[in-house]
Amino acid sequence: MTTIGVLGLQGAVREHVRSIEAGGAKAVVVKKAEQLTEIDGLILPGGESTTMRRLIDVYGLMEPLRAFAASGKPMFGTCAGLILLAGEITGYDEPHLGVMDVVVERNSFGRQKESFEADLTITGIEGDPYTAVFIRAPHIVSAGPDTQVLATHNDRIVLARHGQFLGCSFHPELTDDHRLTEYFIQMVESPAVVI
C-alpha cells in the first residue's frame, strides 16, 4: 500500500491524514528524520511557516528533508508547505527547502479578514469546480520553465507542479473534496506520468 507522510511539527496535520486515508493510501505523521525512510511521498501541511521552519532547524530535519527531495520522491506543500518548498520567497534572502522552481509571496491576499473561499478550475481534475479555502494565503508570483501552472485565481498562480513537487496556496485538507490529494497520491504511485 502507498504510504504518504504528513510533516507533523505543527498545523493542520489531522486533516491531511483524513484526506490521505479517504484517497485509499496509508498516512503516517512524520515528526522525526528516521520516519522519512518509511514513506513514498510527503505532504507539508498548512500552519505557520515561520514556526515550522524553526522546528525543522531545532530537530535537524532540514538536511533529511532535502535528501528526501533529492531522492526524487514526491512532495506536496499546502499554504505554509508551499512556502517551505519554494525556491525563492519575495522579500527574504534565503528560501527554506528551496527545491521547487517557483517564487512565492507570503500573506499576499491580505490579513485574516480578507481570507476567502473561491471556486477554481484545475488542470487535470475533472468534474465540478474545486472549492478552495485560502487563509492568509501566499501566491506563486512566478513559475520556472519546467513548472506547470495548474490553477489561477484572479490571475494569480495558486497551484503548480514542478516534476515531483506539487504546491498550492490554499488548504485542500479543510474541505471534503479529496480530488487534489488523490492527484498527489497518483503522483506518488506513478511518478513518471504527467497528468
Binding site: G11, G47, E48, K113
Partner: protein
Amino acid sequence: MNTGTDRVKRGMAEMQKGGVIMDVVNAEQAKLAEAAGAVAVMALERVPSDIRKEGGVARMADLRIVEEVMSAVSIPVMAKARIGHITEARVLESMGVDYIDESEVLTPADEEYHLMKSDFTVPFVCGCRDLGEAARRIGEGTSMLRTKGEPGTGNIVEAVRHMRKVNGQIRKVVNMSKDELMTEAKLLGASFDLLLEIKELGRLPVVNFAAGGVATPADAALMMELGADGVFVGSGIFKSDNPEKFARAIVEATTHYQDYELIAKVSKELGTAMKGMEISSLSLEDRMQERGW
C-alpha cells in the same frame, strides 16, 4: 468569492494547532515571540498578572500597540476585546487584527450577553470551563475555544480542571444514545443540534486550546497530554527570568509533549518561572473565570 465563512474562520485556528500563542505588550516582545516559534501573538496592554496586581478597569489594548505589533511580525496577531463590547471588537476588526479574543481577562462590558460573533468577518476565540459554555460560545459563532483556567496566577490547576471537564463531557455525549441528547442539552444549556454534531464528529467542531495558568514547559506539555490542540501563554513568558529561553522551551515542549527527555533538557537552566498563586487565596470576585457564563 466568499470571506468570513465558517471554513475560513475555523480553518485559521486549525492552522495554529500544535502551536503556542504568546501574550505580548509591545513590538519587541512580539519579535521575540515570533523568533521563538510562536504561531501567533496576542497583543494587549498588560499581561493578566499585572491586571490582577494593578486592578482598575482592563480594556482593549492601546491601538498604537496593536498596530506596532501588527507591523513588527508576519505571524497572525490576535487582540482582546471585553466580553460583550461590540464596538471594541468592531474597531479591532477594522484594523485588520487576525483573531479577537472575547476575554474574561478584561473587565466585562456586558454581564449578560456575549458578542454575536457570527456577525463578524474576523474570527473569535472564547474561553470555556465546561461543554455547555463551549457550546454556547460556538452557538454565538466563535471559531476557536480555549480553557479559561485562572489567568495571571501561574497555577495550572484551573486549566486542567476545565480541559478535563470539557473532554469528559464530550466523551459522555459521544457515547449517549440520540434519545438521551435532548435532556443533556437541557442540563448543559447547549443546543441539541450542536450536541448531535459533536456526537457525530467525536469532538468539538472547533479547536480547543489550553489557557490560563501555563507557567512552565511541563505545564504546556501537560495540557497537550490532556487533549489541548495548542497552548496560550499569558504572563508565563515575560514574567519569567529569561523570556527568550522560556518561550523557546515552551514551544518545544508543546510540539514534543511526550518526549520527556527533551522536556527535561529544555527545562534545565531556565531560571525562575513566574511566581504562582494559590487559587483558594483568590476570592470569588477576583477569579476571572467567573466572568461570562
